[in-house]
Amino acid sequence: MREVSIVGIGSTTFGRHAATPIEQLGVQAAVEALLDAGIDRSRIGALYLGNFISGPLNGKEVLAGIVADQLGLPNIPCTKVEGACASGGIAFRHAWLAIASGQCDAALVVGVETMTHAPTAQTTAALNCAMDNENDGPSGLTFPGLFGLAWRIHADRYGTTREQVSAVVKKNKANGLLNPLAQMGATLTDEQIAASALICDPLQLYDCCPASDGAAALVLVASDRLSGTQGMPVDILAAVQTRGSPSIGGHPDLCSFDATVSAAGRAYQMAGIAPGDVDVVELHDCFSVAEIVDSEDLGLVPRGEGAIWAAEGRTAVGGQIPINPSGGLLAKGHPVGATGVGQLYEVVRQLRGTHPNQVRDAEIGMTHNLGGAGVACTVSLLRRPA
């Protein structure tokens, strides 16, 4: 397998782009990434595009080919991948795989989604397509509900409090204020969070990420083919994808995701590093309690202490392990198919030392992207070149 580097990044803001057709958002991010890489389009040998619900919400499929056509890319394999909210992370891993295996020397990754134009009921129905609708859907469960179930267990088992969980919300919303791409940065108090509407007890409104439009893109190049590109390449140490149970009944522990635990384990092994070597993480905080569960599943925080670490400031920028300095899904936003690519965009900026909410001397960065009821997961590890 060949070494692969990220040499170009691009992203739209995450938020409302209701007047922009979905393929245009993808093209905007891709053009920015191609210009950032300084690479000739003729060298792009494959395009992988992550998208989840453009079919039901836009009536548009084959987005990979549409975006490639608008970009004037050559006749190359263009593939749309779907893994619910992990679609973007999976697209990245497939592009990495295509180059690492020698199928091509350079590839373009795009993640894109538009959601804000659709009525909430339609968006909810589209997202619920990623549930086990034979066994879990008939109960009336929703994805926020899945994390209400997780929170209940975390609280029951570890004594996790509303205030401790609010620390995650306050941190990520505050981080979002520093990120010009973020949709919903805010300065929030415990009282404001606790007074927000109940969604799926104990989950409240401020515990939930917004619906978002947005796109992000990456240019990947074989590390021995970097000539003719510009800027600081960031090395891919690991790109792992795993499968967990698609159903609630298949999860032996409702406040841990097997797919995350196994992806992290394989990623650390592949990179030859330990969790303590990671300097910055962008992880899948679709809900406040998800960040707590994820940070424990990734081995970054001791089991049961995710909320305590947040409350003690250990996961803030400047803390022991900064989590979601971008604002995360909670504040940056969650255009579902774009999110995984957006996380990689953020970590590359951290490792280049050009992030608006910079973690000092960040050398190794991690991303974690989770889909469905934990059915699909990607974990990636990146390193700034010496």
């Binding site: 034979e134 066994n135 109960s139 469960l141 997780a150 209940r152 007890d201 609630i248 009944g249």
Partner: protein, 114 residues
Amino acid sequence: MSAVNDTPALSVVRCAACGRVDTPRRSVCSACLGSQLEALAIQGEGVIASFTTIRRAPTQFRDRAPYDVVVIDLDAGLRVTGRLDPHSSPAAVGARVRLVSVQGSDTVFAVSQT
């Protein structure tokens, strides 16, 4: 609805080859790929593993909201998702429940009176 002594029962499948019991609506056994799956009615009794109150419901459930979704660890060894009967005593992690109605995969449980 299937019933055992007038008590609602859950429909599951049992693999004729290896005996694995699993949720229905599958055509092969995920343990041995055996394709002979026998319908089996099991008692809907168990304990609540977790629960949440859904206040923003999908469209088809909107008229029932708010309602509790419960995850039940059945005595038979399966973990299933269902809804709490609105007339039930309040849910609690570890509380014993029994199945009170079944329509297809739509299952409703109530906390057992002790």
